[in-house]
């Protein structure tokens, strides 16, 4: 018995040890820094314990960043799922097998683009004078300028649209493939049961895919947290602080504006704690 139980341990211990070092050391170091008052401009520091955290809650820009992050998360996740399900169902309903393959290939391309490239492509597409995305507006209004990335009301949605363009289309392919794995008989039974096309999906196929769709949503929620590269390239958090998410603000506090690494670390630690708590709660709810 002992010999048998030692084999898994032999294999697991080194791997887990490496993982532990890789994940825990930076985390612990971030927590330690968050309790100090380090700045990039000076070498000295002292322990300030929780004063960084206390300051954060009085920082209106931080509270704005929290709000922007929440908005970003909700907008991108909801829009991605709506686009994915909508397009997936549409392809399932109207496209034949060959056309489906073509669309699938087409829809996977955006997500294969590096985020920074996608961001640059769309930054140019949104250009008020030359962009293809703003071209219809210029055409209709006879040359009026529309700059979605520099308007506080539209900037977040313009950036979010790139995220949805990448992930919504990719997820549409996954939703289509999920629909194709379903047994055809319940769909046929629903047709015999007087269900209209949309009702078949609303009441039969999508509920049957509830578990994988929720998993997809979780993946997207985690992916949406990593919005930094997209926002950094397209707006740098602007105009003003309209698209300044938490990671964007932490980065600019830590490295661009003031070099307050301890303050930025405090933000990162708070984000980590909030994320862990939120996801644990959501996961528990879904499991129940």
């Amino acid at each position: 018995m002992r010999r048998r139980s030692s084999l898994p341990v032999t294999f697991l211990v080194p791997t887990l040890a490496i993982l532990l070092v890789l994940s825990m050391v930076p985390t612990l170091y971030a927590i330690v820094i968050a309790l100090q008052n380090r700045e990039l401009s000076t070498t000295g520091y002292s322990w300030v314990w929780f004063s960084n955290f206390a300051d954060l809650f009085l920082d209106r820009r931080f509270l704005n960043a929290v709000w922007v992050s929440v908005k970003w998360e909700v907008v991108t996740v909801v829009a991605t799922m709506v686009v994915a399900i909508g397009l997936g169902v549409l392809m399932f309903e109207v496209a034949g097998p060959r056309l489906r393959n073509f669309y699938c290939l087409l829809f996977i391309i955006p997500v294969l683009l590096p985020r920074v490239s996608a961001a640059f492509v769309w930054k140019f597409a949104y250009h008020p004078l030359y962009g293809i995305a703003t071209y219809p507006y210029r055409l209709i209004t006879g040359g009026l300028i529309f700059d979605p990335l520099s308007k506080p009301a539209t900037a977040l949605f313009a950036v979010a649209s790139v995220d949805v363009w990448q992930w919504g289309l990719f997820f549409a392919v996954i939703v289509l493939k999920l629909l194709e794995t379903l047994p055809p008989q319940p769909i046929e039974a629903a047709r015999l049961d007087h269900a209209k096309r949309w009702q078949i999906h609303a009441y039969v196929t999508l509920p049957m895919l509830k578990a994988p769709l929720i998993s997809l949503m979780f993946v997207k929620m985690i992916e949406s947290l990593r919005s930094f590269d997209l926002i950094y390239v397209m707006t740098r958090g602007g105009p003003g602080v309209a698209t300044e998410t938490l990671d964007m603000y932490a980065f600019s506090q830590g490295f661009i504006e003031s070099g307050k690494v301890s303050y930025a670390s405090a933000m990162a630690v708070l984000m980590m704690i909030a994320t862990v708590i939120t996801f644990t709660m959501l996961w528990k709810r879904v499991q129940a």
């Binding site: 047994p183 015999l192 049961d193």
Partner: protein, 361 residues
């Protein structure tokens, strides 16, 4: 008026023709079984009636109305699928009520009707459960309840019992028969199991390669098979076939082949001297020969399959394997010589090339 009429119905997938110029009329209240080997087009035909497959050519009408272009829901039919096809995420109640809800039937009436149907089928204790919490037989009963509640003009069953184990299959078969007796709804039932077909059907439609081979009551099909295929397909154990040559005898006909010469009056058959014909005899029609019996088939018992009440004895006669189903007490020893004879009334003769029955109409 016929409940279902198919006239010149074709079905093709690209270049492959699955059903060819099929004509069929099914009467009101009738229980019709589509029977045939796998790939004969019986399920396709049923799905065309249901509207789940397009009709490539010809016309299908249900209740006097051409339904070629009608949605499945609008054809006045209900279907029970082989693998039940229940909605896995819904409770049994919601599964049964789904069709009524889509038709916007008031909730109170839905409740009343679901309860009535589940009482008939003994599903009352399970209404709150999910399909996976039920056994196969119960799930199939839910599928039947879901079909029944719509009070359709026609019930369609697509091999409804093939996913059940043997004992449950017998039980459900009896239940379906009872249900049809009480509801009298026109029913089309697809199966490859001839026992189901024989026991349930008012009429059997025997299909092969998308063509109807014979239509008739179970007794007709069993006693007067129209061709070699039908004769070989219907009846367990399978009919024996012996290729023989017809000869004109003094007062009748002789059949020579398989190392024996058989003589018969031949009044029931269209025979010509010198014809090659297939002689068909069902194993239960072979009787242990008494002394002095005519029409003998003899050989050595090669294989004995004991069935309980009777035994299937397989013996070689003139290089041809022949089986006889005899009462178990007459069962010979293995390798013992056996002699069997038959009555002229029990034989079937078919044209050796076309396979058509030579029986006079």
């Amino acid at each position: 008026m016929s409940a279902i009429v198919c006239s010149h119905v074709d079905k093709a997938y690209g270049a492959t023709t699955v059903i060819r110029d099929l004509n069929l009329a099914i009467e009101e209240h009738e229980f019709v079984v589509f029977l045939g080997p796998s790939g004969c087009g019986k399920s396709t035909l049923l799905r065309m009636l249901a509207g789940l497959e397009d009709i490539s050519g010809g016309e299908v009408s249900i209740g006097g109305k051409v339904v070629n272009d009608l949605e499945p829901g609008d054809r006045g039919i209900a279907m029970v699928f082989q693998n039940y096809a229940l909605y896995p995420h819904m409770t049994i109640f919601d599964n049964v009520a789904f069709g009524l809800k889509r038709q916007k039937v008031p909730a109170a009436e839905i409740k009343k009707r679901v309860e009535a149907v589940s009482r008939t089928l003994g599903l009352e204790p399970y209404l709150g459960r999910k399909p996976t919490e039920l056994s196969g037989g119960q799930q199939q009963r839910v599928a039947i309840a879901r079909a029944m509640i719509k009070t359709p003009k026609v019930f369609l069953f697509d091999e409804p019992l093939s996913n059940l184990d043997a004992k449950l299959r017998n039980h459900m078969r009896v239940e379906i028969a009872r249900l049809h007796q009480s509801l009298k709804t026109t029913t089309v039932y697809v199966t490859h199991d001839q026992l189901e077909a024989m026991t349930l059907a008012d009429r059997i439609v025997l299909l092969k390669d998308g063509v109807i081979e014979q239509i008739g009551s179970p007794a007709e099909i069993y006693r007067r098979p129209g061709n070699l295929f039908v004769a070989g397909f219907i009846g367990t154990p399978n009919m024996n076939f012996i290729e023989v040559t017809v000869g004109k005898g003094k007062d009748g006909w002789t059949l020579t082949g398989a190392g024996t010469v058989l003589s018969l009056q031949g009044g029931d058959f269209n025979l010509r001297h010198g014809d090659r014909v297939m002689l068909g005899i069902r194993p239960p029609d072979l009787k242990t020969a008494q002394a002095g019996a005519a029409n003998l088939l003899q050989g050595t018992a090669d294989l004995i399959e004991f069935h309980g009440n009777d035994a299937l004895v397989t013996f070689g006669s003139g290089g041809k394997e022949i089986s006889a189903l005899v009462p178990a007490r007459e069962c010979p020893e293995l390798r013992a010589p056996v002699r069997y004879s038959f009555d002229e009334e029990s034989i079937h003769l078919f044209d050796a090339t076309s396979g058509a029955s030579l029986r006079k109409q």
